[in-house]
């Protein structure tokens, strides 16, 4: 059996049916993972015997008659999400050897469903997106184009089957963008559907725990395992109410898809051409198309970053070396703060601390932060109007698939890459990125955005679109590293 063609669904089936053992599966995946990591740098920690022992315990359960939805499925977790069995580096030199005292709620749930954690995926500086924030571990690379930094290390790992499921954070859209450029499925759920307990939050308003997998059925399976109320994250109290939307239409001509004219203007011409073709295909397959203006994307992006920077500067204040992480040698208190924070934060985390502090200072608070809050509410309003006219909104995920590693230096241009994802984050709508077409052999994904709490519907509709529309199979031989 070729383990690398397996989806998570198939792997769990095989383990549950005792066609393969979890140990054998994990052994093979680990070997493959270590091998590819030399080239892609997608993992900052790869498990050894602990994963095998865990796989053994899964096998034991199977042998004693249990069946588990994710039996033996190898999963990877972002290095800014806590799992007490493994170090959580947070993308910081000061946390290289830090073992968190607890595990994230979502990690616990996946393990409870039979999954085996095989390692921690690379994150940028302090958990900020990899393509924006250099961490001591260096960038993870996109397996389709190793000149390009992957926005999400986990998405890159999925594309080459270093693992079958990942749990990573999504704020401005790193997980969705990584999924789009690596050709996998990435879900940013409605806030409150997945507990954030255990995620090192930068911006409390926007950071969420997201999921990605190489197959949409895998996303569905993983989502079912992690969704729901967790008393340690008050945001999940919404999951106790029955707000979850019912099933949508089963066939395209019962489903209204909205496209925004602005998205064609804001992406590069090649991508715009592909997006038109995609829209045509949707139309010819019978989906009902509507057009909706989204005039606030640019302003939304700016407001997003004002709020993110402000919140991040405050959240990062806890990293003083006194309770956890490494503390610098210092002569006095001020010196301790100064040196420890330089030791802990890379360039981008420092920038967010300094800019964020500036944005919240007297005078600037009124001019920038409070204005950004107003823009935020207008953005929510605009998207709410859009959603009232459709079942799903279709937006690009990235501006261009052609972004190169060397462009990293242009900081503002990098932020501009989030023009389609960060505004969606602000709305609190669930968003799923799915592979949609190829550009120069590189995969490209589009975002499907649903009504609040329609995460399950979103996964279903992605499955319908997948069935209707041709898209590249991720991780096939055409991939640079696959």
């Amino acid at each position: 059996m070729n383990y690398f063609d397996l989806t998570a669904v198939k792997a769990a089936e095989a383990v549950n049916n005792k066609e393969i053992s979890a140990r054998h599966l994990i052994e093979n995946i680990l070997e493959h993972c270590i091998d590819l990591n030399k080239k892609l740098n997608t993992f900052t920690y790869i498990a050894g015997t602990e994963a095998l022992e865990h796989a053994d315990s899964v096998d034991q359960k199977i042998n004693s008659g249990y069946s588990m939805p994710l039996a033996g499925v190898p999963i990877a977790i972002g290095d800014n999400i806590a799992y007490k069995e493994m170090p959580a580096g947070l993308g910081s030199g000061a946390f290289r050897d830090y073992k968190p005292p607890f595990s994230a709620a979502a990690v616990e749930k996946l393990i409870g469903a039979g999954a085996v954690v095989i390692g921690k995926t690379n994150t940028g500086d302090m958990g900020i997106a990899l393509n924006k924030a250099l961490s001591p571990a260096g960038p993870a690379l996109n397996p389709w184009n190793i000149n390009r930094i992957s926005e999400s290390a986990g998405a890159a790992a999925l594309a080459v089957r270093q693992c079958m499921l990942i749990l990573e954070s999504d704020s401005e859209g790193a997980l969705r963008q990584g999924a789009a450029t690596c050709g996998v499925f990435g879900l940013r759920p409605t806030p409150g559907r997945i507990s954030r307990y255990g995620l090192n939050i930068c911006s409390g308003s926007f950071d969420q725990v997201g999921l990605a997998a190489a197959a949409v059925a895998d996303v569905s399976l993983a989502f079912q395992a992690v969704v729901g109320y967790d008393e340690r994250d008050i945001l999940t109290s919404v999951s106790r109410e029955s707000r979850v939307k019912s099933e949508p239409g089963k066939i395209p001509n019962e489903i209204k898809l909205a496209f925004s004219p602005e998205s064609f203007d804001l992406i590069d011409p090649i991508s715009a051409e592909k997006l038109s073709q995609f829209r045509e295909r949707c139309s010819s397959h019978g989906f009902i198309l509507v057009e909706t203006p989204l005039k606030l994307l640019n302003n939304a992006l700016k407001a997003f970053y004002v709020i993110t920077y402000a919140e991040t500067s405050s959240t990062f204040a806890r990293f003083d070396g006194i309770r956890y992480g490494r503390a610098a040698e210092a002569d006095n208190l001020e010196d301790l703060y100064y040196k420890t924070r330089r030791l802990t934060f890379g360039h981008e985390a420092q920038r967010r601390s300094v800019f964020g502090t500036y944005l919240l200072s007297k005078g600037n608070f009124e001019h920038y932060y409070q204005q950004a809050l107003k823009v935020w509410s207008l953005v929510k309003q605009e998207f709410a109007e859009t959603m009232s006219n459709c079942d799903f909104l279709v937006l690009p995920t990235v501006k261009s698939t052609a972004l190169k590693e060397s462009e990293d230096s242009d900081f503002l241009k990098l932020l501009d890459e989030d023009i389609f994802t960060a505004p969606v984050t602000m709305t609190g709508l669930p968003s799923l990125t799915l592979p949609a077409w190829r550009e120069n052999n590189f995969p490209a994904g589009i975002q499907l955005i649903g009504h609040p709490f329609s995460d399950e519907m979103l996964i279903n509709i992605a499955d319908i679109i997948k069935a209707e529309i041709e898209y590249p199979v991720p991780g096939n031989s055409e991939g640079e590293a696959g």
């Binding site: 947070l90 995620l199 932060y369």
Partner: protein
């Protein structure tokens, strides 16, 4: 020149909850450092705050008892500043929308007239930890047991005009907060802390002078003294034509003066913004009314009722109702012993004296209301004499035994056994021929001495009335024999 004194007080009160404000750690004092801590109150990456509903209930009760308007929606904000006793680098507080506004309490001014002191706001916040400096001065240690303990801050308008008014305000406030059982309000233990803002202005002026802030006052007396000191100091400065410098001063109890504070407590830009990790507190009209109706009868109303219902003198009623526990004690005792004035005398006299000398609170004392009722009943039933009753109270108070038990164990039962008393009386008559002769010679007062001798012989246990009767009978017998 004559000046008007303008004082505003900021009082922090620890709420008497089971657990901390945002985690399940116990809210109680322990001597060992960092015992009552967890990943939430230590601000670990990935841990999320969740609000303690008991703290909200108590803050709501306190706000209502202070006649505040209650916000139907209030928020938690972050107050950002660096200090090692703040685990997160910010304090969670209610900066923009406090739970209570526009309250008041009435006190007596310096002429004994009723005066209303306006309370601008009552807001909830978390306490910080404590820094402990080593004796050698070479190390500072931090104890986070107190970090995250719920507080309310009660801020007056600048309505107070003298140190005496300030003290009376504090006494009244303490009384109210104790009555609603939100805090034990012990200034010496830090569960009630007071900062004062004070300025002087020429009599008749409506413009506020420049103020100083006084800190580190750990008793009501210290508040009064430091304000008096500061009034004299400011007056001297103004009289000399200089200006008062706006600064924070620390009261030094040893030297009995205010000292300017250095360093960390200079003017700050706290960069407050709403905490994105916490939901707002939403209170419905029904919830507010339910809390209002659960408020206990407050001291003044209760004193009035004591006068009317129990016929107590004003003075007694005021003393008994000054503390809710004492008033409860009194009324609980009355249920079993229906003589209000006698109970009042015992509670205000004998019991209070013993509480004062042992430093115990009435609710800590082992001598319960039913014990007092039992004691008084025993006196009425001639089981013990009034004099012995005080000894019984001592023993019962000390050992927590019921008075009846004490009387039995200590052999303090009143001797009403006629033959036993007659034996003693015979001895006394035989031993005091002079007094006997005096009595028989018509000096009936001499009987008092003889009764006293009998009491002495029985160490006070004899029933004095019975002794009297038996003595008279015996002496008359002697007379008739002669």
């Amino acid at each position: 020149m004559s000046y008007e004194v303008v004082i505003g007080l900021e009082v922090h009160v620890e709420l008497h909850t089971q657990s901390k404000l945002f985690c399940a750690c116990p809210n109680r004092f322990v001597p060992d450092p960092n015992v009552n801590t967890c990943s939430v109150c230590l601000g670990f990456p990935g841990a999320l705050p969740r609000l303690n509903s008991e703290a909200v209930s108590l803050a709501l009760l306190a706000s209502l008892a202070l006649n505040c308007e209650i916000a139907s929606i209030s928020y938690f904000d972050r107050k950002n500043y660096f200090y090692p006793d703040m685990p997160k680098g910010y304090q969670i507080s209610q900066y923009f929308e406090p739970i209570g506004r526009n309250g008041h309490i009435d006190i007596e001014d310096d002429r004994g007239e009723l005066k209303r002191i306006c309370i601008g706001r009552v807001h909830m916040e978390e306490d910080a930890g404590k820094l402990v400096h080593s004796l050698a001065g070479d190390a500072s240690m931090v104890d986070y047991n107190r970090a995250g303990v719920p507080l309310i801050e009660i801020v007056t308008e600048p309505d107070l005009r003298s140190s005496g008014e300030a003290r009376r305000y504090l006494e009244k406030l303490k009384g109210i907060l104790e009555y609603v059982r939100v805090s034990d309000c012990k200034m010496e233990e830090g569960s009630l802390r007071c900062d004062a803002n004070i300025s002087l202005r020429p009599m008749g002026s409506t413009i506020l002078g420049s103020k100083t802030e006084l800190k580190n006052m750990n008793s009501f007396k210290a508040v009064e003294k430091s304000l008096e000191h500061e009034i004299r100091r400011q007056k001297k400065i103004l009289d000399s034509g200089s200006h008062v410098i706006t600064q924070t001063l620390r009261w030094d109890d040893n030297s009995q003066q205010t000292i300017a504070m250095r360093g960390k407590l200079q003017a700050h830009d706290y960069r407050c913004f709403t905490d994105p990790e916490l939901a707002p507190i939403e209170l419905t009209e029904a919830e507010i009314e339910k809390a209002r109706s659960s408020l206990p009868e407050m001291a003044e109303a209760r004193a009035c009722r004591f006068v009317k219902e129990y016929g107590l003198p004003d003075y007694d009623a005021r003393v008994l109702t000054a503390s809710r526990s004492m008033a409860d004690y009194f009324e609980n005792c009355l249920k079993l012993y229906d003589n209000p004035k006698l109970v009042s005398n015992w509670v205000m006299g004998e019991l209070t004296a013993r509480l004062n000398s042992t430093g115990l609170d009435i609710e800590q004392c082992a001598f319960l209301p039913d014990h007092l009722a039992e004691l008084l009943n025993m006196v009425d039933e001639n089981v013990i004499s009034g004099k012995i009753a005080k000894d019984v109270l001592d023993k019962s108070f000390e050992k927590g035994k019921s008075p009846r038990q004490v009387v039995e164990d200590e052999g303090l039962l009143q001797i009403s056994d006629q033959s036993e008393l007659e034996t003693v009386i015979d001895v006394v008559i035989a031993g005091n021929p002079e007094s006997v002769d005096n009595y028989l010679g018509g000096k009936t007062k001499a009987i008092g001495f003889l009764v006293g001798q009998v009491m002495k012989e029985t160490r006070g246990k004899a029933n004095p009335q019975l002794v009297n009767e038996l003595l008279v009978k015996k002496l008359q017998e002697q007379q008739s024999q002669h």
